[in-house]
Symmetry: D2
């Protein structure tokens, strides 16, 4: 086991800062074991990269993320850039022999996600997506109870996840409002409840969804109104493949047929309802 | 105005009893005004009809509902029979010149419902369906607030309605388990939240639904297992036509485009989750 | 068993109407068995009594409740008058050999309640107080689960009961606003959660309470402001004697000492919080 | 303004680690401004102190907290030791000219708290208690709304705070179970909702409380059962002085008398209810 792990960070927004703080807290939280070294930080230009490297405690800074990936001192790369860049950066890092922790959503297009999965598999490296909720021990405990059949057949699951950070109609148009970011609320945090469904109830068989844009335009810094290209709200009705639910061979104790389907509906909302 | 109103009742199950009790309580609850007279009661045979007429306080009893409809003393007919009979009885009563209060669901097949609506319109009589929730003054108040635009554009509505009366796997197969009763939980009480959506948010544009049968069979009185033919659980995702919402010309105060759509999802469940 | 039971009703307000409707519904709801006959109704004067007797279906009417109690055709007397009259009327009815169903609260003063209990015991008649919630089969089921020790020791119980009927500051001063009615919200409906605590967790060992009058005055019909004499809100913290909880000899399964105390707090509120 | 602030930490338990992590995150979270330097860490002996200093990143370690307080490089002292030591350590640090951030509860005895307050006032130093919830901008916003009279008179406030970390009856007896730690759940986290009441609704006029010990004993490391000396559950009913509520001169908009009292009840619980 290496005494320390060289970390590279691409992107220093909300999640980039979270990754940096998390790496910094490994020693006080977990004590002994290999420690992360904050080796290299990449941003859109060298000046921003240097400022953030100072704040977050990284040794080197670069305005070119390919330099970071080429750095032999970097063992693992955190990809915390806008969604549209995930595929290119994660694939490049894996092909350069780095481990990768890429933020969710995996990619904007299915084909990109499939390429990422294939490269990750071929690389033999550790490739992790930022679905942090499924790491919660509580979720594992729910999964264990379901596998034991503790509540019998599950006929319906409901999840709701609301965020109010775009509730203000005066909040500015930004990268998540751009078409290149995908499906808005559904991509941005709807993937979290979906990740729970996937882990607890198996793969999705069918999806029905309603997406909405309550604010059709948002102001820009220049004071003009720009059409919002992504969705702020999603109501989704899933059918989950139940056979997968009991994948480890346990039988449900309660009533209900094996192999039946389970509906899972959820709502995600990027606006405040107050 | 007539001094009293002659009431005929077809069917004496759960809802038939409710209608009889309600008719009996008109005077103590509302005081003056025309009073119902409990004139004629019909059941599947003369003996049951007589027993129920004694219990509920009806003057005449019959095993043939067409006798009741032909009775000139009957002004209004309550149809509280199993769903499959609603269309035939309600149409016959309207065509005989009676007012009709028919229980929900209106009918099992769309064509039957359309025939009922046409006959009711042509008859000039009062024809009411048993959607009692929409009569609640609270719902009218919600409607008034929506029309005033008090909360701006409504992007999402969620309703849930659970009943536990079929939660026991030992509960017997009965008429609501039969294919002739329609879609089970959705028809039986899912129509109530749907009636609220219709009154408050306008007509339905699209429907996605997941229906389930947690107990594939139920015991019969004879002790055999019979396949359940209707659904016990429904998860439904609606798109409501928003233009209808503001049908009286009021403008929403808040953000959001006119004529946009609104998602409404609901879950109905004929089983206990405990 | 008598073929029918002669009913006398003193008071025709909200609860008096409830008693009349309930008596009228015995046959349709329960079918066979002795039926109530609505014999005699008393109000504050003969004219009001006659009007209400007609509405509710009582045979005789009187402006003097002592005539009703002296009526040999009356077997059971419903006392549904303002709180201040409960003791005098219930005691007189019991002493005249009638069964009594007296509304809650039992009495305004402890001494009155103790006299009522003593007379009821000596009379050998059925004497019931209007604590209808404790008759709910659900509550009995909770009680059975507690006795079986299904959830172990209960350390805390929380009940909340809110009514909005006096939420409007323009609502008129009325008899429940008078000092003779006792403690307001606490007497008026706080006794309901208290009755549940008493039935489920045993007798009260200590009480701490905070009572409030959010509206110090209310308008009268004459248009003047009159000081409210009772309380609209009560926050109450009880200590319940736990030894009583397990009164039928069952032992709790879970952790916790026998004979320990249980706190039960509740809030009653005669005002709308919206 | 100093370029950096020398930090001393006494105690490295749950809250000591929180303080260390928080100091470490100042730069990434807040960017520019004076930065904390982790100067000196004290524990019960030199070995533990050195281990923790390495984990948390402190330059010096000591088994004698008085050495830390005497260290001229230390500007501010975090006191995160068991409750019984707060008074002695905080007072010593203030008298040595240090700023102090002392964890809650302030002290176990009122006299100690009063001494601490007096010394803090005389010292002219910044003395902060660890009531972190009241620093939440949401709470300040609630306070602003109350001051504006946005919801009129507040008649009742209810807070509930539950922790499950002592839910397991096999959880070991530890320092919070000792009589020297004060009142258990009430001292340990009941002070948090109390701090919110104090900030939002003014000072407490009267307190009624019920404290309970669901588990009368807990196992020790040596395998014996030791009597729990503090309380795991508290139900508390407060009367708050309402005149203080409107302390900045704002008048409530709604109904209700000035200077009236407000009840605030809360429940704290150191056990899991599942």
């Amino acid at each position: 086991m290496k005494a320390s792990i060289g970390v590279g960070l691409i992107g220093t927004g909300y999640m980039g800062k979270c990754h940096a703080l998390a790496r910094n807290s490994v020693k006080p939280v977990f004590g002994s074991g290999p420690q992360p070294r904050l080796v290299h930080l990449a941003e859109v230009n060298a000046a921003i990269a240097q400022t953030k490297a100072d704040e977050f405690g990284f040794a080197k800074a670069t305005g070119d993320w390919r330099e970071l990936i080429a750095d032999p001192e970097v063992d693992v790369v955190s990809v915390t850039t806008p969604n549209a860049f995930h595929a290119e950066m994660a694939i490049a890092a894996l092909e350069a022999g780095k481990h990768v922790w890429c933020e969710k959503p995996m990619a904007v297009a299915l084909a990109d996600a499939e390429r990422m999965a294939a490269v990750a598999k071929a690389s033999g490296k550790v490739a992790v997506l930022g679905y942090n909720y499924i790491q919660n021990p509580l979720v594992r405990h729910i999964g264990a109870l379901l596998e034991q059949g503790a509540i019998g057949s599950v006929n319906h699951v409901r999840l709701e996840m609301d965020e109010d950070f775009m509730a203000d109609p005066e909040a500015l148009f930004y990268w998540k409002s751009e078409a290149s970011s995908g499906y808005g609320a559904l991509d941005d945090f709807g993937v979290h409840p979906l990740s729970l469904l996937h882990v607890l109830f198996g793969s999705v068989a069918r999806v029905f969804a309603h997406l909405a844009k309550p604010y059709p335009t948002r102001p820009t810094k220049e004071g003009t109104a720009r059409a919002v290209e992504t969705f702020d709200i999603a109501s989704v009705l899933f059918e989950m493949g139940r056979r997968d639910q009991w994948r480890h061979g346990a039988q449900p104790l309660g009533p209900g047929p094996q192999g039946a389907h389970c509906a899972a509906d959820f709502r995600v909302q990027g606006l405040d309802c107050l």
